[in-house]
Symmetry: C2
Subunit: 190 residues, 2 copies
Amino acid sequence: MSRWEPDATGRMVAAALDLYETRGYESTTATDIAIRAGVTERTFFRHFSDKREVLFAGSSDLENLILQGIADAGDVPALDMALNAYRTAAPIFETTRDFIVRRARVVLDNPNLRERELLKMHSLAVVIRNAMIDRGVPPTASAVAAECATSVFTIAFEKWIDGAESEGLILAIESVARELKSIADEFQVE
Amino acid sequence: MSRWEPDATGRMVAAALDLYETRGYESTTATDIAIRAGVTERTFFRHFSDKREVLFAGSSDLENLILQGIADAGDVPALDMALNAYRTAAPIFETTRDFIVRRARVVLDNPNLRERELLKMHSLAVVIRNAMIDRGVPPTASAVAAECATSVFTIAFEKWIDGAESEGLILAIESVARELKSIADEFQVE
């Protein structure tokens, strides 16, 4: 392990997921993960602050795609702009579906991980909201669009993970987005 | 403290908030809170599992109002039904605005508390979603309406806390709800 290992991160993530599935999240230590991945503990902690973070590797790639989706959206209405963030990010989930499904099950089973996942989704909504404000969309419209697009994505993601939407995450997003449109059409508001 | 103290909970909550504001959340212990409130540590831990939970006292009252709001909503569209949960709950925030504003500042300043707050808001959205499904609203419509109503409430709450909506929380909710309606009207969906 003395030379640079290009795929050390990938091996640690795979090792962590295997251990969380077989032994349970609580019973797995950072050392266990390092050993299984064939890296030193020092390497583990150079990449991740704790064992929880291993499942959130790639968060910055996701955030970059989200930002690209906002930048690339044309001069479209607020909700279309916000949803374009998730459309742009969807392929990184779709290309690793098996991993994502296994990961989602581990996260769902552990309150600690679920809490972190909610926080990460919330921070994506904030990233979208701020990027939209930067593009000149009014603050309240940006906030509502970012939050609702994040809700659409989360619900579509759940369906896609469950296998209820076998046609892919992007189509699941479009389908839930149409549901939002239809609900809002009926909405009477006082 | 040997006899039953009807307002022990209220005193502990007030003491915790005072200490979190003056000394900081991290530097305050459960013992500090108990001493300031004039109760024993044992009393503290009979009411709260840890110092974080003190700021989430009343969660079950809130949840009951949320459920009542869904039960009381007439045969209205999904989003109106979901929003009625927050309309029904709004008065408990409005009647204690000073406390709520102070509490919100402490929560905002501490990542640990912010995380717990997000989890509580998420669990309210799940309560609404399930109550709507129980009332016969289709699952996806229930999910989208519950999540979007929760977003509307969260954004309205932020504005109300900031003082940007001086006319009260319910009016702030209606104003953000109209924004959602207007954004959804423009929404092109693919």
